[in-house]
């Protein structure tokens, strides 16, 4: 007798089906978690980008006048940097609307100054507008923070949706595992009865099912996480290779935290399976003497 046969028989077709279901749920949960994390990252970078950013438009000023206005802006308290946009940069901004052939010289274009405020300064637009007007500049100040609030609200909803999806998928996985454990227990009632009557303690019997479902959860979770990794990598590759502009897309990259999420997926699946098995078996055994 070199190796003892496990007291629970090896996996049957029911457990293969459960393996597939848990693997699929882990795939979806991992992908949803990666998406949620990506949305968080995008929200952070978008809001950081637009908050504290202003654009000052001077419709009547020439380059010299604009440079004077820039210096005035930069000397204002709470302003970190003011930069006069070149003709080429203005052309690039208008390219989506007017094409790449260049604009007629006769078309009157405003001078634009990109302004960056200090991080802790809020709503400095009216101050700038007043100072420029007092200096005789016809101007319009566009404070990006005005619409950053809309972006934040939209992203908060997106994050909530992603987190809800993760929570739903995780709880569904736990419920499916608990249901399957119960079914497995019923199918192996004979073994449980024999062990029970042989004097096995509840935790000994539960331990057999816990080990079985812990391994099943780990393996299924690993397969799901690997598939999620493949899907995420494929999406990143597709976006990058198409040369699409990703400025308004969530940050598509795999970093260390993403890998931690993928590593945690099978562990969480295994723990959920183990816990579900323990609770189900102990509760079932409590119903007999």
């Amino acid at each position: 007798m070199s190796k003892e046969t496990p007291l629970l028989p090896l996996e049957d077709a029911r457990e293969m089906a459960l393996f597939f279901v848990v693997g699929a749920l882990c795939f979806l949960a991992a992908l949803a978690t990666l998406s949620a994390k990506s949305t968080y990252g995008a929200a952070r970078s978008w809001t950081a980008e637009v908050e504290g950013e202003l654009t000052v438009s001077l419709p009547d000023a020439d380059r010299r006048g604009a440079e004077a206005a820039r210096k005035l802006i930069e000397s204002t308290d709470g302003i970190r940097e003011a930069r006069l946009l070149s003709k080429a940069e203005i052309d690039a901004l208008l390219e989506p609307n007017f094409g790449s052939r260049g604009l007629p010289e006769s078309l009157p274009l405003p001078q634009l100054i990109a302004v960056t405020a200090e991080p802790d300064v809020e709503f400095i637009g009216p101050t700038l507008e007043r100072r420029l007007t007092e200096a005789g500049f016809v101007n319009a100040v566009d404070e990006h923070a005005d619409w950053a609030g809309d972006v934040r609200r939209m992203l908060a909803i997106a994050r909530l949706v992603a987190l809800t999806a993760v929570a739903l998928l995780a709880s569904t996985a736990v419920a499916v595992i608990a249901f399957a454990t119960h079914a497995a227990l019923l199918a192996r009632r004979d073994i449980v009865d024999v062990l029970h009557l042989a004097g096995a303690r509840d935790r000994y019997i539960a331990g057999l099912f816990e080990r079985r479902f812990w391994l099943l959860g780990i393996r299924a979770g690993a397969v799901g996480a690997l598939l999620a990794l493949g899907a995420a990598a494929a999406m990143i590759f597709a976006v990058h290779s198409s040369g699409a502009r990703t400025g308004l897309l969530p940050e598509l990259s795999l970093d260390f935290l993403d890998l931690i999420i993928l590593i945690l997926t099978p562990l969480i699946a295994g723990l959920a399976a183990r816990l579900a098995a323990r609770v189900t078996v102990i509760r079932s055994l409590k119903s007999v003497m």
Partner: protein, 249 residues
């Protein structure tokens, strides 16, 4: 003076005090049962099919709780014990079922060793004991066979070996000869008697096979309409008395 293990049992292996049992809302299956089994005793439990023999045995091997009354094993009222204490008590009771209840994915050897695995013993510590036990029940050559390849008699002998491998203080057998031929039934009965004599194990066997009961001089408890009565009109001595009466007539 040396104490035997029976001295520690309060001199009673099994005691039932006013035990009744009912399933759900049905009528009582068992009603006000009083029963005392002494350590080292050998007895039969008889009764018609459906009389409640299996239910009574389930109470004895702690698979069921009585609806009323108290079941005590070795002087310990089971209603006051924790689940772990009940498990510990079950280890002192061996059970043989009519339908064997062997695990098909284990070999005969592994089935017999199952209670020892449950106790957490290493295989090297019990291998020779299990092999010896299988040889004692006449299955030394078939220890690596799985139950599905064994005959009914062989399976029942594996089940008996499993029930006694921990040297239990009580052996409970529910219709142990129900699925074997009469010759095998007699052989199994000799195994039970040998166990009772060799190890002073308390044995109670439920059967409706009166032919089997008549082979042994032992008290017979009969279940009738949920009540338990002791019936002494069986066994070789009773048969001899009956034969003498017929001769006189």
């Amino acid at each position: 003076m040396t104490l035997s293990r029976h001295d520690l049992f309060d001199d009673v292996a099994v005691r039932l005090d006013g035990v009744s049992l009912r399933y759900d809302t049905s009528e009582d299956i068992l009603s006000g049962i009083d029963l005392v089994l002494k350590p080292g005793s050998f007895s039969f439990l008889t009764g018609a099919s459906g009389a409640g023999k299996t239910s009574l045995l389930k109470l004895l091997y702690l698979a069921l709780k009585p609806s009323r009354g108290e079941v005590s094993l070795f002087g310990r009222p089971t209603s006051r014990l924790t689940r772990d204490q009940l498990s510990a008590l079950r280890r002192r009771v061996g059970v043989v079922f009519q339908e064997f209840r062997l695990l098909d994915h284990l070999t005969a050897y592994e089935n017999v060793a199952l209670p020892l695995r449950v106790l957490g013993r290493k295989e090297s510590t019990y291998r020779s004991d299990v092999e010896e036990l299988l040889a004692w029940v006449g299955l030394g050559e078939r220890m690596h066979a799985r139950p599905t390849t064994l005959s009914g008699g062989e399976q029942q002998r594996v089940a008996i070996a499993r029930a006694v491998v921990t040297q239990p203080d009580i052996l409970i057998a529910d219709e142990p000869t129900g699925n074997v031929d009469p010759e095998m039934g007699s052989r199994l009965m000799r195994l039970f008697l040998e166990l009772n004599k060799r190890r002073a194990t308390t044995v109670i066997i439920a059967t409706h096979d009166l032919g089997l009961v008549r082979q042994v001089e032992a008290p017979v408890f009969r279940l009738q309409h949920g009540l338990l009565v002791q019936d002494v009109e069986y066994g070789p001595a009773a048969r001899r008395r009956t034969d003498i009466s017929k001769a006189v007539e």
